[in-house]
Symmetry: C2
Subunit: 331 residues, 2 copies
């Protein structure tokens, strides 16, 4: 029996991680922490034992008490305000709810001196604006964060290394690229497109207009169900103090994603750019290398982009009125 | 008339900066902020107008109000818990009182939309453990912080760049190497040695034992009076968004510093290493390049190490019973 503490439990990735454990572990015990209640319940699962506690991770005393009582084997630290756009609006709040909550968590574990393995989720946003000649990005690429969110993520990684090398904590780090899938909230770009396209179709239209930002942007999309598999494998087999890109190794433009979805829905769409959705300091092309995670722990992504998009469309067909989740994805 | 807002005003560097302005400016207006009251008073100065306000910089509302009322031309952000050793003991407190206080300051200025120039003081500690072949360190050297304090300093620099490039703030950054001089508190290594050696001499001894850490460590020491000159020049002539090493470009071992001081005092000393004072993750040799600051703004350091040490000895001769200052220096 292994005990997992999951922060950011109520989010998009947390939900998929729980589903993954339920399918792949016979006796995992999970304690979920989040500032908001999850909208999925323990009744859906067969093999795992789940418990949830509502907490603001800035409350360090409570964090420490919870960790002490639960005595986890693994901590999957998903909690994050991961919207880049939000971080530009509220940089202090974003920083505190990325970096400071994480530092609280590490400090609790240091003080309790527990032999727990921590997986620190970071972001490809830390790489910043990269020279296209250097793609795909390996972990050796120097990080130059260009948004408040990205600064917090790089800070998180730097403090992780200090806690590994200076205090002897057992931390593995990721730089996770964009992940997509069912249940992702539509404040993020792919689910937002999916919801709008499904709405057009449901309303009986065969054609329509989609308002977008710059759809020539190329991103490295991985299905969240592959991502959570990587996280569980990293908790079990990742090397202490090491950083792993979690990505597909393949770039896809947003326009390509849109045309894939319109094909599935049999819609004819023209896109119109809203200047307000253009973000000047965004990278144009981001593609990661997943050689290290493949080599070191034998992870592979299995779900094709086409399959992901089909499942996302299905999800919005069934859940068009819900508004999804704003944490733990990447806009 | 130029208005200077100085955070960390009561510290070692703040005091010297005020003296510098008093000597070099006829009509500077200064507002000092610090969490503790300065132990120097406005009566000592002839040319400048000074005012002090006691404040915890984590109190963002008060920070914003003060900045709005004062409408500074320049902000010299000296405030920092700059002890590396302390940051290992209290990483959260250290991080908050380096990074979070700075983010509060930047966010206040962004919200007020003031045309103020900010000098963000950073640290050579950000460079981490460096390959000796790469000395002296230029600003192009990649930072790999190895202590909680250093992580906070690198985070401060990263967020500065985001506020320059993303929000258009006018920020110049330093990576300041070790600075020494009168009034530095004896929790730092050079004033600690000076105080102990002066005590031996005052007690009538001609020889004695000094307990040290590893005295083979080489550091780049600059007199604080040269450092504050650099800071004023950077406020006036530094390029927005640029980072400048502030250093002498010369390395000196701690054992060399000790023998210099014993020569001045005519003492015969043997040193004994206290294992507890050895810090395993410390750099052995740190020397910076000051080519950029010389080239870009015409700064030069004028005060020799021998002169600095003589002045420090003099200071401790006159102030042996006082215990100095624990901020804004580098241990």
């Amino acid at each position: 029996m292994k005990k997992y503490l999951i922060t950011g439990y109520a989010g998009f990735v947390g939900r998929h991680f729980v589903e993954y454990l339920d399918k792949n572990e016979t006796d995992a015990v999970i304690k979920g922490l989040d500032i908001q209640k999850p909208d999925f319940s323990r009744d859906s699962y067969n093999n795992i034992h789940m418990d949830f506690e509502k907490i603001d991770l800035l409350d360090r005393d409570r964090v420490e008490n919870i960790i002490f009582s639960f005595q986890p084997d693994y901590i999957l630290h998903l909690a994050s305000y991961s919207s880049v756009a939000f971080s530009w609006k509220e940089p202090i709040f974003s920083f505190q709810n990325n970096m400071n909550i994480y530092l609280n968590l590490l400090e609790s574990i240091r003080k309790l001196n527990l032999p727990v393995r921590i997986l620190s989720i970071g972001s490809s946003e830390g790489y910043g604006n990269v020279n296209e000649d250097l793609l795909p990005l390996t972990e050796a690429h120097i990080q130059k964060p260009v948004s408040p969110y990205a600064v917090a993520r790089v800070s998180q990684e730097m403090i992780s290394k200090v806690y590994v090398n200076g205090y002897g904590l057992d931390i593995v780090m990721t730089r996770s690229f964009h992940h997509i899938g069912p249940f992702q909230k539509d404040i993020f770009v792919i689910p937002s497109f999916a919801r709008q396209l499904v709405e057009m179709k449901t309303n009986g239209n065969t054609s329509g207009e989609l308002i977008t930002g710059d759809t020539s942007f190329v991103r490295d999309f991985t299905d969240v169900r592959d991502v959570v598999g990587a996280y569980d494998l990293l908790l079990k087999k990742g090397k202490t103090g090491e950083i792993y890109n979690v990505c597909s190794g393949r770039g896809t433009s947003l326009s390509n994603v849109i045309s894939n979805m319109t094909k599935i829905l049999d819609l004819h769409i023209h896109t119109r750019v809203n200047e307000k959705l253009l973000r000047p300091s965004d990278n144009r092309i981001v593609i990661g290398s997943n050689e290290k995670i493949k080599r070191d722990i034998g992870w592979h992504n299995h779900i094709s982009l086409e399959q992901s998009l089909a499942d996302i469309i299905d999800y919005w067909r069934q859940n068009g009125s819900k508004c999804g989740d704003n944490q733990n994805g990447h806009a």
